[in-house]
Each structure stands twice: as C-alpha cells, then as structure tokens.
Symmetry: C2
Subunit: 511 residues, 2 copies
C-alpha cells in the first residue's frame, strides 16, 4: 500500500499505527445527517480519499451530510458527492458545475457566506455542531498535531471543534510545506484580545494545528495531487484592465497618496486579478506585499521579479507549470510566505488595520456602483461571494474589475440595476474594465453614473445607458431609476439569451 519509512518520516506521532484506517473505514465514521468539515480552499489541500469513499458509499445507501469546507474543492469531489446525493447542505463556497446545478434546482441548500465568518458562526454555535473533520496533512507532529498542506482554510477550527478528526496524510504533498503555516485561533468573544497581526509577515501562532490527539479517529495514508489552477495568461482585455489599474496606482504614487510599496495587496481568484498582479511587475513599484486569500501564479512571478517582498494567504493554487517550479524549489520562497487560517487572512479587523488594496472581480455592476458577484440573471448561483466582501468592505481601497462584455457582446456587464447585490455602493471605490477606470471616491450616485457609463461601459451599450440615466434623472431621486425598465436588461436576457436590443451600432468613441 505505502512505504512505511515514508510514513514514519511524515508522521512523528508514535500512536499513528493504532489509528491507521483505509479511506472506506474512515468514511464509515460519517453518518447520514452529520455535519462534516473538510480541508480545501480554491482546489488546494482538500482531503481526497475519504470524500471519494464517502461518495461511493452514498451511491449505495441513503447518506446526505452538511458539508463545510474552506472554499472550493478540486479533484471533482463536489461533483462526485453531488452525483451520489451525498450533500444536503453545503457552505461556504463552491465552483463545481454539477453542484451548481443542484444548488440552482433547489436540491442542495447552499449557504453563501463571507469566508471569514464560517468558523465564527460555528464557534458561537450558530450553526450545527461539527461531528467529523477530515483534514489533509503533509505531516503529523510528535504530539499528534496536524501540519496542513497547500491550504489552511478553515481546517484548524474544524479540527479543533469536531468530535472526531480524520487525517489524510498525503505522501505526495511537499514535505517542505512544514513551517509555512501560521495557525492562530482567536479567543472567544466578548473577551477576545486583539489579534496581533500588524504586517503581512507577522507570525503569531504555531506551524501546526494543535488538536486533542484523542479526537483523532482515523489516519488515512493517501497520495495524489491538487487539481491544477486553470488560470489563463492575460488576454488583450485583461491586459488592458491591468494597465488602467496600474496606471492609476502609478498616479496615486506620483501625487503622494500612495508610496511605491502601495499597500498590502489582496487579489481575488481568477484570470483578471491574476493579470493585474502580473502587471505590477511593470510599474514603478517596489517592496510590495500581499495580504490575500489565495496565492496564484502571479504571486510567485512577482516574488521572482523581486518586486514582491512577502505574501500572506490561506492557500496556494497554481497552474501545473508554475506548481512544478514552486514545489520543487519551495525553499527559495520559504522566508517570504505565510499560510494562515482564512479567518485571519480575511479578517475584517486586520484588513482595516493594514489598509489593504482589495482587487476583486465583479460579475455585473450597475451604473451607480452596486456589484453582483454571485447571481447570473439575479437568480442562478455562480460560485459564491467568497472572500470578496471581507476585503471590499474593509479595505482602504476597494477595486472591482470586469470585462465590459460577456458572451461575445451579447451581454453588457454594466446594467441599469444589478439583479443581485453582494457589494453595495458604499463599498466600491474604483471600477475598471478594458475601456477605462472610474474613480468613484467621494462621488454621489449621479456623479458615479457618468463616470461608469463614460469610462467603463462598452461603447455599443453606452447610448442605451445614457438614455436610461437621463430619463431616470428627469424623475428625480438621489439614485434615479425608471423602475419599470430597471430589470429589463435581465428580462431580455432571460427571454432571448442576450441583451442585444440595448446595443447600438455606435462604436465611434470606442477606445
């Protein structure tokens, strides 16, 4: 099955043999109706064998659980579990097409939560108590403590709060991950003392998850890799988004509002934010730092370029090519990386304290600056709000980026009235598309509309939005609207699959 010598190297806890189980045996500890917490954040560091065994069992017997993770899982686990009808409730984030369908048809109840809040709710007993935690480890310490792999996510609190803990010791995970993690559990409220993170490189905890070793119900030896990131290199549009934003940062440095070190950076997951971070290598910046959630390829490019001094996150999700380079040479990055629990990486108080620049992707925005990050057409869940709210709400500078068009121009990402609000007008400072950047700071809604329409909307949709705004202003209001037309763009999309009737031929002022 596995090389015992390798296990002994990874597992320094003398009692491990007593707890050794197969994935099937461990999965048998999970019963129908239980609440289960699993490691895994943006397809990094998820437990791999036990959920697969659980899905197989659920194919043969009624078994449905509440599944809580850090964020999304890789290796098609959410798909397998959904297909096996093993999920009755799921939180706080997902990105799987099969699970998404089940959420949208109402067969899986999904709680779309700010990623910093899940363990607070659990700790305060505002959610069902956790029966079993399943955590991937790259090592187990002498004391029986868990050293996580490529993500910390919610693993620490899940393991501490669960009645039983199943550890998947992954022999394929880089042993060199040990020492990278910084595990700190905030005290109970209302007598919590300040969390002492004062900079991205603050180390305040332990490099392992300290659990009661008696709660370890099973150790499963596994092998297998994280699913690689599907991040794409920048295209023309994402490159222009990056250029606009980097130009703005450079201007802010020029007028003395920011230093060349900017401020600790957060960048959401995905191609657009990745392109922006990559682009920072070109600007007049130095000694940059990141205090972010997931660290992507671009973080390591920026570390390599010498522009980035330090990166703090709660997971590392890399493309295959970048992963090979990084994991084979992790020593080179060791002193410039920390992986924290997502409660800390996304902590409102720390984000406010550090004065972060938050860069997140919008699905849809309206002319007044409200952002939809989650719902297609106002009804269908895409992935979830993730950490974007934790950051946008508390950042010193909250940036949202998106391409101005979707579906080859059939859809404008900027509409009169967003069909769902995840980030309110109060929480958006800067909005960027490939066409330009709207600086919304200190502006009233009517002023924001002009900036957003004229700078960010695709020229082909500008006339229709200008008309909407002009008609609305005639009716008055702090935030003028023509209510009977407000959702007409989405209704058109629902009926015809596109918004083309709001599109004009005008491209004269196209950039």
């Amino acid at each position: 099955m596995f090389d015992e010598g390798m296990v002994n190297e990874r597992c320094r806890w003398p009692r491990w043999r007593d707890r050794l189980r197969t994935a099937e045996q461990a999965a048998a500890l999970i019963e129908d109706g239980m609440t289960v917490g699993m490691s895994g954040f943006t397809r990094a560091g998820e437990a791999k064998a036990v959920p697969r065994a659980l899905a197989e069992r659920a194919n043969n017997e009624p078994l449905a659980i509440t599944l809580m993770t850090g964020a999304s899982l890789g290796n098609d686990l959410d798909k397998l579990l959904t297909e096996a009808n093993a999920l009755s409730r799921r939180m706080p984030f997902q990105v799987d097409a099969t699970l998404r369908r089940a959420i949208n048809d109402g067969s899986v109840m999904f709680m779309d939560q700010h990623l910093s809040e899940t363990v607070e709710l659990l700790r305060n007993r505002q959610l069902a108590e956790m029966d079993v935690a399943v955590i991937e480890a790259c090592a187990i310490t002498e004391e029986g403590y868990i050293v996580p792999t490529t993500s910390v996510g919610n693993s620490a609190s899940y393991a501490i709060l669960a009645d039983k803990v199943i550890i998947e010791l992954n022999l394929d995970s880089p042993a060199a991950l040990e020492g990278l993690h910084d595990i700190y559990i905030p005290q109970m409220r209302p007598t919590r003392t300040p969390i002492p993170v004062v900079a991205p490189d603050s180390r305040i905890g332990t490099p392992y998850i300290p659990i009661d070793p008696d709660s370890v119900a099973a150790i499963v030896i596994t092998q297998g890799k994280d699913s690689p990131s599907t991040v794409q290199p920048p295209d023309n549009d994402t490159r222009r988004i990056a250029e606009h934003l980097i130009g703005f940062f450079a201007d802010e440095v020029e007028i003395g509002r920011l230093t060349p070190a900017l401020l600790p950076l957060q960048a959401g997951i995905g191609n657009m934010a990745n392109a922006v971070v990559s682009g920072l290598a070109e600007g007049p910046f130095k000694h940059l730092t990141m205090y972010s959630e997931v660290l992507q390829d671009s973080t390591f490019e920026l570390l390599d370029s010498g522009k980035l001094d330090f990166a703090s996150g709660c997971s590392i999700t890399l493309s295959e090519r970048c992963g090979e380079r990084v994991w084979n040479d992790i020593e080179r990055y060791r002193d410039r990386l920390i992986l924290r629990p997502q409660e800390l990486s996304n902590h409102p108080g720390i984000i406010r304290r550090l004065g972060i620049i938050a860069i997140n992707t919008a699905l849809e925005m309206d002319i007044y600056g409200n952002v939809n990050s989650t719902h297609v057409g106002g009804t269908k869940m895409m992935n979830g709000i993730g950490g974007s709210g934790d950051f946008a709400r508390n950042a010193q500078l909250s940036v949202f980026i998106t391409k101005s068009l979707a579906k080859g121009g059939d859809i404008s990402s900027i509409v009169p009235f967003v069909s769902h609000v995840d980030h309110t007008e109060h929480d958006v400072d800067i909005f960027v598309t490939e066409h330009g950047l709207a600086d919304l700071r200190g502006l009233a809604p009517r002023e924001r509309a002009v900036q957003i329409i004229e700078r960010c909307v695709d020229p082909s949709y500008r006339p229709a939005l200008r008309r909407y705004f002009a008609d609305a202003c005639k009716r008055g209001g702090h935030t003028p609207h023509c209510l009977e037309q407000a959702l007409s763009w989405h209704i058109a999309m629902e009926e015809h699959g596109h918004m083309r009737r709001f599109r004009s031929e005008e491209t004269a002022d196209a950039v």
Copy 2:
C-alpha cells in the same frame, strides 16, 4: 455678551482672548468652495452659531461648501444651510426634510457613507482636504485642547486634520461632560498597531482632542441647547417587536448560546431600537453592556434599572424630559459612560472583536433577507446608511427590525425584491416585525423566504408573497425570482402611492 468669569472657568487656555471672535467673524474664515468639517452627531453637540452665521452670509453672497459632520445636525442647521444654497456637497448622514429634498432633486450631492469610514478616507487623502473645522466645546484645556460636548462624532479627526479650527465654547453645555470622552486616533496605515479597546469600558485615549493650538483660528462663545430627541414611547407594534426579540434572547440564554449578560449591545437610533433596549429591563438579563453609536433615553433607563453596567457610544441624544434628568445628575452616570470618536464606536475590527449584538432598523426587506435602509422606492434618499453597515457587517448577531406595514397598511415593508440594497443577504441573521421573528442563521435563500413570509409579513400581504415565491421556485435558481414582477410592488407604489393590489382580505392567521 457673556460672563467672563464663566468663560475663564471653561477656558483654561491663557491665549483665548486673542482668538475671541463673533460667529460672523469666524464664519468669514470659511470661503466659497471650501471643505468644512463640523461637530454634531444625531443632533447632539453640533456647532450652533457659526453655521447659522454662515447660512446668513450665504443668503447674501455666492457661498457653497462641502460640509462633513459626524452625522445629523440639530437646530435646523441643515435646513438653514440648504435654504441658503450653502451646501454643494454633504456627507456622511443627514435627517433634514429640506436637505433631503435638495439631495433628491440633485441640487446637493450627498455621499452616503459608513460612519466609521469618513475620517479614514479623509486621513488617506481620498477626499478633499479639510480647510476649516468648527467644533463645539464644553471646555478648552490649559494647552488649548478641545473638550467636546454631547457628541464626539468625527470632531477629533476633523480638528486635527483641518488647516484652521473654530471652537464654539458653549456655556450652556454641561461642564460635567469633561472627563467622559475618550479620544484616540488610530495610527496611519499600513503600520497601524492594534486599537486596544477590549471591552465597552476600555479607556485608551485622552479626555480631550489634542490639537496644535496654533491652528485655533477663532473661539466663539455661544449658548444654546441641542435639539431634543423626538423619540416616542413604545407603541403596540414596537412593544411586540421588542417582546419577540427579547424572547429570542432569553431562549438563546436558556440553551446556553448566550450568557445572561448577552453580548455588548448596539442599537440604532429611533423608536424601534429604543423600545427594544427599554424592553431588556424586563428579561432574565444582568450585567448588560452597550457598545453603540448614539445613546438614547433607553440607555439611561437601563442604567437606572441596574440591568446595564456600562455604555459606550459616540453621542448622547435625549428627549427633553430624560435630558433634564441626566444632565442635572450626570455624576451618577459618570463611571458608566464613555463617548468615543465614531471611528472607534463603529470600528469594524472592534465590533468583530467584542462580538456585538447589532440591532438596526430596516426601511424595507425582501423575502430573501436583503435590507434597504436608505431609499424610498429605490430612488429617494431618506437619511443614509449611518452606522448600520459598520455594525451589521461585523456583529456576532445582526438583527434588523421593522414594522411589517407602513402608511396604514398601504405599504408592506417586506417585498419580493428590495429596491435598493444596503445590507446584503450575507449580513442579516435575525429579522423581526410585530408579527414574529425569523431566525435566518445557516439558511439558504429558499428556506429564508419561508421563515420571513410566514413569521414576519403582515397576514394581508402573505398570500401575494407566497404566490410570488411559489411561481419563482418553479423557474428555479438559488434565489428564485420572477424578474418581470420583482419590482412591481414598487412600481405600483410609484403609480398609485400604495401597494394595495397585493393585499388580500385574509387575516385568518393574523397573530
């Protein structure tokens, strides 16, 4: 003009005579186009004479400023300034009918901000720099430092950041206020150290605003009182809202999720939150604390009843009757009160740290738990978001309350789709009307809809919302909607002034 002996008692700064000016002379320091910061929060502690003189001047010459305050002003100052066309821009909150009209017709640009953020934006130079600050004081120290009156609001940072400071020394303000304030200015980011508030009674600063005395451009001796609070005693509906919520707290204590001390409490301004706080005197609670924004009559009732150990806020706004009692006997409360800058009273990091129970009033809510606090019919500004977002977003328990009906039943406060979102579905835990309480914790949108419709909606509007929800569920989606009907309730209100066509005769299941 005034009794020099009294001034000498209140003003221990030897150089005060050099700076003595009339209100008109001081107002002359304010020029057209300037950015001016004034004291005042929820009609408490605003500068009174200089803004009045400014309005008079603006009646005779072109003069329009950007006016920043703590929150709302009393003594009709916003009205006078608006009528004189003296306001071009206003932030971050207001409650005046005349100003509201000007905001809604687009003649005053209003920035509706989270109240904890205004001074952060100013400090980071993300807003125009502050030319003049006008701050009401109850005393001036030997060093020339300002002791504020009944509110701190944003006064400290305004006075520190402004080029010139005008102090209104109000001889009618209670001298005994001195010592109540706790002024602390967070350090610049990204090198800010943790703000050391660890409990409502943490004193971390100075009892005065430390300014450079050279920036004091004028001292104006004034007299006059704050406008009294218009808070009303509980009516049947607000009493029932309070009963539902207090019953819920008692249950949470019973099952051990909360202790009898609950958690530090925040209650928004207004009759409903005031009724809830009053009602706490009746429950099985003891050693309560408040970490709130404005302290209203109910805070002092609760202090008197012995249930409340300590209250921290950024302003005190009392009815005439309660004010007389409190201000004449302030020594009795001295050890149980702190007034802080609103940046501290509303600080996201402190709110998260203390695990606050936040109780705020909704203008409108939808069946999925999104809250509108600001916009009537989606377009017309009422007052502003105020501190509700600071608290709701970071509280341990976020409660929103409202009466289920408005305008004698012509309007349902619960609609299919809110016309504006100030608090997203992610940030609302508990929703209460006079009909009942919906506990939304850990629920998916479809589950929330059932709770909200069946427990909180007025029975006369339930059938229409049940139909909407059922029809929407047939179409599917994580958050089901019939987009073409989503805003129809607001469109009906816009056309007819009421939503009666959605009202049924059914009252069988009325509580």
